[in-house]
Symmetry: C2
Subunit: 254 residues, 2 copies
């Protein structure tokens, strides 16, 4: 049974893309078969994984509009399968608006290839629009990356409301797997207080450990590899490995 994890948070810059890429790489290290889906027209995941969104002829956009199959559009980058995004995907929101069952476009697109994978990770854009709704509708569980600052904390309630709507209308089995504390600066009281506050305020499971803030993580996209390849012994790489062990559906290999 394939685990499909939507990594979602409508707040910008909270490490959704970084979390999808790093968990993907860590699960691959553990021997899992992994697919990463880039649901963001900005194509940051595609770019971070070593692809070039500006040069791709076909992307997830064509797959959502049923013009191409996922298998045809798939890229394999550094061992990781990626369903890539291009800026065309910005048009998908508009095209899908007029189609019945528009929330299920991604789910339908993944059906033919689902069984090839143990885990599918979906990188959502910073909004609660049609693309994110597609990600939440296709998913078995939601992972919420949380930058431990006030403005990021404040969006969680709205996100949970949206997840509630998706459970009511398009995906009754969707669950929240938990919150990941990203780019965590353990020295500040703001970070500690925000993390404690979120668990209590929303009754969400906070996955361990937090991912430490490190320039190694920010450097990795420019080299087209994950932080596990760019800085394999960094605290951030190890944190993502530990988180992958915590969420691995096939059980720990350690």
């Amino acid at each position: 049974m394939t685990e499909i994890l939507a990594v979602a948070n409508q707040k910008g810059g909270v490490a959704k893309t970084t979390t999808v890429h790093s968990l993907g790489a860590a699960l691959l290290e553990r021997g899992r078969r992994v697919l990463m889906v880039d649901l963001d027209p900005q194509g940051c995941l595609t770019y971070s994984a070593g692809g070039d969104p500006d040069k791709l002829e076909a992307s997830l956009h064509d797959v959502l509009l049923a013009r191409a199959s996922a298998a045809e559009v798939l890229l394999t980058l550094d061992g990781l399968d990626v369903l890539p995004a291009t800026i065309d995907l910005a048009g998908a929101e508009v095209h899908l608006l007029t189609r019945p069952g528009r929330e299920h476009a991604l789910s339908r697109a993944l059906d033919p290839i689902r069984s090839r994978y143990d885990v599918i990770l979906i990188d959502c854009p910073p909004s609660l629009g049609t693309l994110t709704i597609n990600g939440l509708t296709a998913a078995t569980k939601v992972l919420i990356p949380l930058q431990c600052e006030t403005l990021s904390h404040r969006g969680v309630g709205q996100l949970l409301e949206t997840i509630g709507d998706v459970r009511s209308f398009t995906n009754a089995n969707l669950e929240v797997l938990g919150v990941i504390a990203t780019m965590y600066d353990s020295r500040t009281r703001l970070a500690q207080a925000t993390l404690a506050g979120v668990g209590e305020a929303y009754g969400l499971r906070v996955l361990e450990p937090p991912v430490p803030k490190s320039v190694r993580v920010a450097e990795a996209p420019g080299r087209g590899v994950s932080v596990l390849r760019h800085a394999p012994r960094s605290g951030s790489a190890d944190a993502y490995r530990a988180l992958a062990a915590a969420i691995d559906p096939v059980g720990s290999t350690t």
Copy 2:
């Protein structure tokens, strides 16, 4: 002649909201009459300025759909006028899609109150959709906040293309005022290299000084005030004051 500055960057979390709020507060300190427009359904600017987006009855959404005037919906928070956002604004993208002249909704909404202000600052959401296009169409100039990391750098080309489209179709006089280096960590080579790279790659003016990274800035929204009020003598507050002096259309008062 009112200066209307769209603060735009489709990458998430690069300090668009923080820059609008801090420049707004700094221009107010210099005796300018300032309006801040929250164009993001997540309402982070409204919240950071001390408002409560979840409790407002009317917002920019009603103004864009011509159901209320800007003057009716305006809030004054800590001396700053704010055209507030609520989550309803997410619906504006869809409602506006079917109306002719949809890119000019904000411009039309600002017409009756424009002359009350020296500077209007527009906080754009992390996307290049209808709301941001409205912000760019209503503006005289664009300010681009740039987090000096690879993924933020990579979106600049796309943003400039979008600005080019707006100049061709809906706002021929739009200019880019420049780039602001936000949450700048001067100790990392990544930050220095990215900042140097952006100026060269796109021929953009890089405004001085960069705004240093400081937890004081991240703490401010939780208190409903700008960093100029929360930590008036911090390096980040001073940087925003210097930037306000650089962009003040009425000329420096110092």
